[in-house]
Chain length 358, copies 2
DNA sequence: CTGAAAGCGCTAACAA
DNA sequence: TTGTTAGCGCTTTCAG
């Protein structure tokens, strides 16, 4: 790992052609046929122990590494998949992609990274390139505002998974976090802590996530025998500034203010916390606050540290990997799957520390 | 792009074998030899206009797409590169990787994404896999605290670039942001605005970036005829909390407080801004603040919006792409290259808006 | 137990 | 102008 200059390779026993070694080199040096060498290297067929050992030794010595391209050509499986993001890869897609890559790597599958940046032409060219490279599967991620057009699976039968994005087609497999459930988790927790009036400050309603989280919010309220009073549901923007503004508005009236806030993301929650502090309201004593995303840098920098809903993006990525492998093995999987979120409890909601529950 | 069910493919004129079409299919349907088809498809050799047209038409009709694996096998260039991150891909590496991918994609080169997560064994396996796939080049990114071990270029002659990470070896090419220059930019700007006492709150000194930024800070101070007074240089942590603490400490003494802060990253700067506000010091009137990283979510959420040094990570990624292409073409490039940062001016430093200068 | 040969899909040099 | 053929590096039957 450390010695950079490996001139010994150059001065190897026999004179070897430049470039990576081939199985032909191994065979020649071992004094056997190519077929025999192949058997030894793939541990297939019957072979005397000594020839096998010899072949393997030679292979190791000359640092033989099979050419996967050639293997793929033969078995018509490239052992690669593509991951295409039409939004550029962001904070949300990254953990997903990482977990996916990890899962697939364990199966010897490599991942091509492509970002199309919402440019349909670019996307088309990416898909063309990937198909040309004979990928065995494709994962598509997108930003979540809108449902995207399905990918035309120009090569029929190519397994495709949409993750963190939705597509209309019924035959497609879509993997998403359970936004509704996640929201319910948060609100249920607040209710269980005795909060009676829980407001919801969130992002733009054109996001499906916003609508789903609202649904979860209302469901959990109902469950607890509570109701959202008019003005307690505040769709807006995904920014800190909106969090501040909404709080200012919500708490400017003297009477009947909320004793808890469930925020649509962590940035809104941070803005809310700041505004509360500046208005002299104590968190969590007067007002408990819960965020969404569990974005480390936001959540830990908050004062107090922010309780937040985690979408378990890595689990989503892993699941995508598992599903893709299944599909590559021939299984047909379709539909919309929503994976559970979890609540990560910190100080801002006034509950016991460190406990995470689902 | 929209029609998902393309059954017409199935019911194509002739019965075609399943799976992707091959050049053999094209040739057969066009009634020519494979060689001829190849000539037409690659626009090589001389060919009658009509046969060429016919071949191309057929190819289009059956959605022929050349098998890049086979092409690669032939020309011993895979048209792929690997990008290996030993830290997991984070906020900094992502923009780099994206820009790199974009640059290479334009040349028809696809990018394998690998994250080794600081596990040497995993890294080794990743490299093995990539070499097996006969990548034409490799980009290595890392977190910046420590200089990493160079990759053993098991296949001699494989172009390798280290970006956003350093390696001891003199023959390696390392691409980095010019931290010193970036810091100087910030401090020079503050000095030009008339600030006389500029403190520097920053991260842990084991980061090379911290040491370089300190150097830039001191150099720019000297340039302006200023000096850092004892206690004005505050290494610590990369967190908001540290920014708050450092400010509290710096400004608790009654007399002789700084009139400007240059912070080692945007989180520290945010903490500093919060603390200043809570101590009743106005920004930028009393104290100007500049951050580092120009991390959008941090910078825009700050009150007031934060002036910050941008490392131009996308330029770094693009440059990595360009260099890699050069190296793949046979050019030898070595050494440490530092790319300029730029200053993005916002309200927190009390200068004219929106102007960015280098 | 080992070798020879066909073929994965494509390109390029050489024949016709 | 078009066809034939020999590989690229590997696996896998099928003979020996």
């Amino acid at each position: 790992m450390t010695d950079l200059i490996r001139d010994d390779l150059e001065s190897s026993d026999e004179r070897l052609p430049r470039g990576p070694r081939t199985i032909r080199d191994v065979a020649r040096l071992a004094g056997v046929s190519i077929g025999t060498a192949s058997k030894a290297l793939n541990a297939s067929g019957r072979l005397s122990a000594e020839t096998r050992a010899k072949i393997l030794r030679i292979a190791r010595e000359i640092e033989y590494r099979p050419n996967v391209l050639a293997q793929s050509l033969h078995r018509t499986r490239s052992m690669t998949v593509g991951i295409l993001s039409n939004d550029s890869f962001g904070r949300f897609t990254f953990p997903i992609v990482e977990a996916l890559e990890r899962r697939l790597f364990d199966q010897g599958i490599a991942v091509f990274m492509c970002n199309a940046t919402d440019d349909p032409l670019r996307e088309r060219r990416h898909i063309d390139q990937l198909l040309g490279k004979r990928i065995d599967g494709l994962v598509v991620t997108a930003r979540r505002a809108d449902r995207r057009e399905p990918i035309e699976p120009a090569a029929r039968g190519l397994p495709v998974i949409y993750v963190f994005s939705r597509v209309e087609n019924r035959n497609a497999l879509c993997l998403l976090p359970d936004d509704k459930g996640g929201a319910a988790l948060a609100v249920r927790h607040l209710a269980a802590l005795g909060r009676r009036r829980i407001a919801h400050i969130t992002g733009p309603e054109r996001f499906e996530a916003v609508r789903l989280r609202e649904a979860g919010y209302r469901a959990a309220l109902a469950e607890a025998g509570l109701a959202a009073r008019p003005g307690d549901y505040r769709p807006g923007h995904w920014s800190e500034a909106w969090g501040r503004d909404a709080v200012q508005d919500l708490f400017s009236r003297r009477r009947a203010v909320p004793d808890a806030l469930f925020c649509g993301n962590d940035q809104i929650a941070r803005g809310a916390l700041d505004a509360l502090r500046e208005m002299g309201r104590a968190t969590p004593a007067d007002v408990a606050v819960v965020g969404f995303d569990n974005w480390e840098v936001m959540v830990k920098g908050a004062r107090p540290p922010l309780t937040s809903v985690d979408m378990n993006l890595d689990a989503l990525g892993r699941e995508a990997g598992v599903c893709l492998l299944d599909m590559m093995a021939g299984r047909v999987i379709t539909g919309v799957r929503r994976l559970p979120c979890s609540l990560v409890v910190r100080d801002s909601c006034g509950a016991g520390q460190h406990s995470a529950f689902e």
